[in-house]
């Protein structure tokens, strides 16, 4: 058994009187692909927002053990989470539309830059070399994802599938230990979904990352995930291999209603 990377320990999150996440605990181990599923409004994105520290006022603890052992993420600012090797994508693709694809990747490398604004203004040797090195890195990732040829085009006007790819490419720029994907297959056609499946495998292999994803496309989730966490109304239902999750009574009820 490999070592646990992300630990949620009794996490709860309230919005006013509404309990969006309710005493949720689960663990993601290093090298796993874990899916987080649940009906609409089950609080999946809220879980992600807690993990990535967009919401700070959650109860319980979230630990991440990449850079240092069992680090309490609450001690990280939302902007420091990426330094720990934890990076995410968004449900409705959040890219900079009026920057080129390449530049969007460089945004993802923001925390990799050592030089400051003064050396950028003066274009010192160090600043130029750093920019060049990160560009090379971006080229490599773009080639790997097969979008190298269009690197200088604006993001605006790209097909949805390509934008999803750019967002994934952007996460890779920060040398992530763990990537959190919020509905990566939403809005993709069947062929693109298949492609994404292969891509996620390859990313895991090549970049040696752990992946946690939310997805509604059950076929996709069942195919790709090592383990699946099912939640409903913010509550933990089950965590198991895809096969067993499919057979789980509670999960079936959550999806189909108790009469089914």
């Amino acid at each position: 058994m490999s070592k646990p990377l992300l630990i949620l320990d009794n996490v709860s999150m309230y919005f006013g009187g509404l309990k969006a996440v309710d005493n949720l605990s689960f663990t993601v181990n290093e090298g796993e692909i874990v899916g987080l599923i649940g009906p609409n409004g089950a609080g999946k994105t809220t879980v992600f927002n807690c993990v990535t520290q967009f919401y700070k006022n959650y109860e319980g603890d979230i630990y991440f053990s990449a850079a240092s052992d069992k680090l309490d993420l609450r001690n990280c600012k939302v902007t420091d989470v990426i330094d720990q090797g934890l990076v995410r994508t968004f449900q409705n693709v959040e890219l900079v539309a009026d920057l080129s694809i390449l530049e969007n990747l460089l945004v993802g490398a923001h925390n990799q830059f050592q030089t400051g604004i003064v050396s950028h203004i003066l274009r010192t040797k160090k600043a130029r070399e750093e920019e060049k090195a990160l560009r090379e890195k971006a080229y490599e990732i773009l080639k790997f994802l097969g979008i190298y040829e269009i690197r200088d085009l604006y993001v605006k006007g790209q097909p949805y599938g390509v934008m999803k790819k750019i967002e994934i490419a952007r996460t890779l720029m920060s040398n992530p230990k763990m990537i959190i994907l919020d509905e990566p297959a939403a809005g993709l056609n069947d062929r693109e979904t298949d492609e994404l499946e292969t891509l996620i495998y390859e990313i895991k292999k090549k970049y040696n990352t752990t992946i946690l994803l939310i997805e509604h496309d059950m076929g996709f989730v069942m195919n790709i995930c090592d383990r699946i966490v099912a939640i409903n109304f913010g509550k933990f239902l089950a965590m198991d291999t895809p096969k067993k999750i499919q057979q789980n009574k509670e999960v079936q009820e959550a999806y189909l209603g108790s009469d089914a």
Partner: protein, 351 residues
């Protein structure tokens, strides 16, 4: 047809060369502008025309700063005039105390920069129209101080001749020296263009854009709102103040009443009409908003020229919402259409 292709190839080649060497392009652009400073000696243009170009140069620097704010960071400031005034009047006050030009300039830049940082802090709390009007408050406070506080000396502050770099005495009154002053501010403009270019093509420029397009995604990428809001406002105020310093250096007599909301709005108009996120677009905007009326329209129409400027602003915004500089793409499109049409014609003729 062949001629068209040849011309096209010629220009494509030049533009490729130039776009690969942006700094060289800025320098060449500066040379062209600088030559205006020596034309009055030949009698080709009037001294007044050179003065108008001096203002265009100064406003370009101010507007570039605002473009960093408006175009790249999606933030607005209605207090720009206050900071230009700070640069010009502050320079005057310090120089009248006997402080050399360079040190006085650095001092006002530091003071303004700190004020800008304060606004940046403020912008973390306040957004949209509230932030815009908060900056208007700052502008109004500064304006009140300039017009009512005694050290700014009533109607205007006289700076008099400036000892540049400690040994070159330059006075506005002497025609040759005025040309040199023009040359110096052109040089400053080129430097600021390079600075702006280097900023927007660096991590900072990308971070500013990421922050304005999606705060959440930017934060997830490790972009601190605090740091980059401050950066945006400090840069904008520094550019504006530097524009003011250039104003003081060139005019050597600074009015206290000129730094009103109208001026701030004009600077915004320059950025929007010219082109958001574009350095040359900013210059173009200044030329359209300030240059065209003052160079030509006012001579023929007097005050009525405001009507033309007003209509021009309205039309440009309706038809080129991202700035007039983007007319270039339309022209290219038209040109390609023309070429396609011509080649088709040729084919039919050949048949």
């Amino acid at each position: 047809m062949d001629i068209l292709n040849k011309i096209e190839r010629f220009f494509a080649n030049i533009s490729k060369q130039l776009s690969e060497r942006p700094v060289l392009t800025f320098f060449l652009f500066g040379l062209v502008i600088a030559s205006i400073g020596f034309l009055p000696h030949t009698g080709l243009i009037r001294w007044g025309t050179m003065g108008i170009f001096a203002y265009i140069i100064i406003f370009s620097v101010v507007a570039m700063g605002l473009n960093l704010l408006l175009g790249f960071s999606g933030l607005i400031s209605l207090g720009t005039a206050g900071f230009v005034g700070a640069g010009a009047l502050g320079l005057g006050v310090f120089m009248n105390m006997g402080i050399p030009f360079e040190i006085a300039a650095v001092l006002v830049l530091i003071i303004s920069g700190l004020l800008g940082a304060l606004i940046g802090l403020f912008s973390l709390k306040v957004e949209g129209i509230y932030l815009a009007i908060a900056t208007l408050f700052v502008g109004e406070i500064l304006r009140q101080i300039y017009t009512q506080v005694e050290i700014f000396g009533g109607q205007a502050i006289r700076i008099g001749s400036v000892r540049f770099l400690g040994f070159i005495e330059l006075s506005m009154i002497n025609q040759m020296q005025r040309s040199f002053l023009f040359l110096i501010i052109t040089g400053f403009m080129v430097v600021m263009m390079v600075v702006m270019h280097n900023i927007v093509k660096s991590k900072t420029g990308r971070a500013l854009m990421a922050m304005s397009r999606s705060q959440h995604a930017a934060q997830a990428m490790g972009i601190s709102l605090l740091k980059y809001r401050l950066t945006a406002f400090v840069l904008a105020t520094l550019f504006a103040t530097f524009g003011g310093v250039m104003y003081g250096l060139y005019n050597q007599n600074v009015p206290t009443t000129a730094w009103t909301l109208d001026l701030s709005l004009f600077v915004i108009a320059m950025v929007i009409v010219g082109g958001l996120k574009s350095i040359y677009g900013t210059f173009l905007g200044v030329f359209i908003i300030y240059g065209i009326p003052n160079l030509w329209l006012k001579n023929y129409f007097g005050d009525i020229s405001y009507i033309f400027s007003g209509i021009l602003i309205i039309l440009v915004i309706i038809f080129y919402p991202h700035g007039f500089v983007y007319i270039w793409y339309d022209l290219k499109k038209q040109y390609n259409r023309l070429k396609a049409y011509l080649s088709q014609k040729q084919v039919t003729q050949d048949e």
